[in-house]
């Protein structure tokens, strides 16, 4: 008899693109954790005589406008991307699970209020809610994370509320209630385990979007501030040298694309493996 987890793993392994995604994400994690050992140089060390150096023996991917090693900065940039991504996923999930289960269990006007608020947040086009939040809170890593997390929360609220509503009517939850189980206990024991596959898939695909939004905010100058090595910021500063030294702006962008692609592939693969019913390509 195979456990569901093992079955999912077997399905996952058969999917070559999913495995590529897993490898990419593992590589990102590795370079984030091992940055000081993997990076060939100090990402902050400037060398003004070697500024804008082309890729070569000394600087594998070239040097930026201050003569800093681009490869090392790209490697350190993984930390910012993954940190902002992971924390914003946590924020989105925390808000989403709390409000979604309150809405689902309580019903009535609380439910109406929460769902209307969710609809309002969903009415903001992509990126604009995050821009509005960051422009109010001020730029920086923490505020960027909060902005991205708030942007991701409404979808989680909907997911959690939907499954709470479905479970509320199920017999075993009714039985648990009759035995005196409380709301939060029910959420933890029955709702979340059932939602786990969906949440894992959403969180993985959301990571891809969170990395894109962080990069976009930093590119606009609203996100991570210099001298921190952030991919979006690197593209933005390289933009001024675009026609003189195109590698300064374009190489960090490749890192963004690879990271986003990795999480997208992994998310797609997880969806197909964990919940074949969820096939289809809506985000």
């Amino acid at each position: 008899m195979e456990t569901p987890g093992r079955l999912a793993w077997r399905r996952f392994k058969r999917n070559r693109l999913a495995v590529v995604g897993l490898v990419l994400v593992a590589a990102l994690l590795g370079s984030a954790l091992l940055a000081p050992w993997v990076a060939p140089r100090d990402p902050a060390k400037q060398s003004l005589i070697e500024k804008r150096a082309r890729p070569g023996a000394k600087f594998v991917l070239g040097a930026d406008e201050f003569g800093r090693d681009i490869l090392s900065r790209v490697i350190y940039g993984t930390r910012v991307a993954l940190l902002v991504g992971t924390l914003s996923v946590v924020i989105a999930l925390a808000i989403g699970v709390a409000l979604g289960s309150v809405a689902g269990f309580t019903g009535g006007w609380t439910d109406t209020l929460i769902m209307r608020a969710t609809e309002v947040l969903l009415a903001f086009p992509y990126l604009l809610l995050a821009i509005a939040v960051v422009s109010a809170l001020g730029p920086g890593v923490l505020n960027t994370t909060i902005a991205v997390g708030i942007w991701g929360a409404p979808t989680v609220v909907r997911l959690v509320r939907g499954s709470v509503l479905a479970l509320r009517e199920s017999e075993y939850v009714g039985a648990a209630r009759a035995l005196g189980a409380s709301g939060p206990g029910l959420v933890a024991r029955h709702v979340l385990p059932n939602l786990l596959p969906t949440v894992i898939v959403y969180a993985t695909l959301f990571m891809a979007n969170a990395i894109l939004v962080e990069a976009a905010l930093s590119f606009l100058g609203l996100g991570v501030q210099p001298p921190t090595a952030s991919w979006g910021l690197m593209v933005s500063t390289g933009r001024d040298l675009l026609l003189v030294a195109p590698h300064v702006a374009t190489i960090p962008g490749v890192a963004i694309m690879v990271a986003v692609l990795g999480f997208n592939l992994l998310g797609d693969g997880l969806r197909d493996a964990l919940d074949p019913r969820l096939r289809g390509d809506g985000r």
């Binding site: 209307r116 604009l128 509005a132 109010a136 990069a215 593209v235």
Partner: protein, 307 residues
């Protein structure tokens, strides 16, 4: 059908009121004294007092909200702090450029995305399908601001075919529209492929084939029409994606639209102008999705009957 339209319109009203509320809140969230922040460090106390009075910041939130909505209904979004001109005038100057850019991108995404998706679904596992699927995976992972820069390097610098930025001719539109459209094209292609594939597995398609309807007709008549609804929903959502992306592409290509105006407003701490721009974007997004909702009725008679 009429009740359906009226109901949907009424449902949009609280959402719009909420959007206005959130937009208004952003100024409230500003740390410290919002007004002296907006005017900068060299502002006179009189100017600060005047602006605070104008913004009504001494009044409670609810009062200000009612006032704001009241002014909004008369088409007054306030005066921008930097230029001291009506915000509506500044927005009116900028929005045609954004409309042009996002519409061009939406058309590109729809034409290329739907075509690629349908071809992929009709010949699954063909070479075209493999290339299109891999291409769309890359496409939806592209940061639009970066794609814009890469396109500039290739098509405006190495091969000096197209202008680097600015507006004025159709040639100016090509690069920003393509950069903006790529991720959406990828999404549309994926969605079209999977929904056409799904429809092609339906019983009524088998029936149509069994009774000898030609394959081209099966795809055109049954598959496309039924696959249209999810694709249309996605297009509505992509419109939001494109508007957000426009903020980035307009910055990259010096395109004089709402997005660039908005970024300028942020750096000038012109929150009145920023509020106006965010509001216009959100209103447009809500209205587009309302239109998408309404068009379901036309595509699928079952929808309007359910109400």
């Amino acid at each position: 059908m009429l009740t359906f339209i009226v109901r949907r319109l009424l449902l949009a009203v609280p959402v719009l009121l909420g959007v206005v509320f959130v937009v208004m809140l952003t100024v409230d969230l500003l740390p410290g004294d919002a007004v002296s922040l907006m005017l900068g460090e060299h502002s006179t106390p009189q100017a600060v007092a005047a602006l605070r009075d104008y913004l009504g910041l001494d009044k409670p939130l609810a009062t200000r909200y009612v006032q704001y909505v009241g002014r909004l209904l008369t088409g007054d979004l306030g005066r921008s702090i930097q230029q001291n001109r009506p915000v509506t005038a500044e927005l009116a100057e900028a929005w045609p450029a954004t409309l042009e850019l996002t519409l061009a991108a939406l058309v590109l995404a729809t034409v290329f995305g739907v075509t690629a998706g349908v071809v992929s679904a009709v010949w699954p596992s063909s070479l075209f399908d493999a290339v299109a699927r891999l291409g769309s995976l890359f496409g939806l992972s592209l940061p639009v601001f970066w794609t814009g820069l890469v396109l500039i390097v290739i098509f405006a610098w190495w091969l000096p075919w197209l202008p680097v930025g600015g507006t004025g001719s159709l040639a100016h539109l090509v690069l920003p529209a393509v950069a903006l459209a790529l991720p959406s094209t990828a999404m549309v292609a994926r969605m079209t492929r999977s929904s056409v594939l799904e429809v092609l597995r339906e019983d009524y398609v088998r029936t149509a084939r069994a009774k000898g309807v030609r394959e081209r007709w099966v795809v055109a008549k049954h598959a496309l029409r039924n696959a249209a609804i999810p694709v249309l929903t996605l297009l509505g959502l992509q419109a939001g994606q494109l508007m957000g992306g426009a903020v980035l592409t307009e910055t990259v290509f010096a395109w004089p639209g709402l997005g660039r105006l908005m970024v300028k407003a942020i750096f000038a701490r012109d929150y009145v102008l920023l509020q106006g721009a965010v509001l216009v974007f959100s209103l447009a997004f809500v209205l587009i999705n309302l239109l998408v909702d309404l068009s379901y009725g036309a595509l699928d008679p079952r929808v309007s009957k359910q109400g």
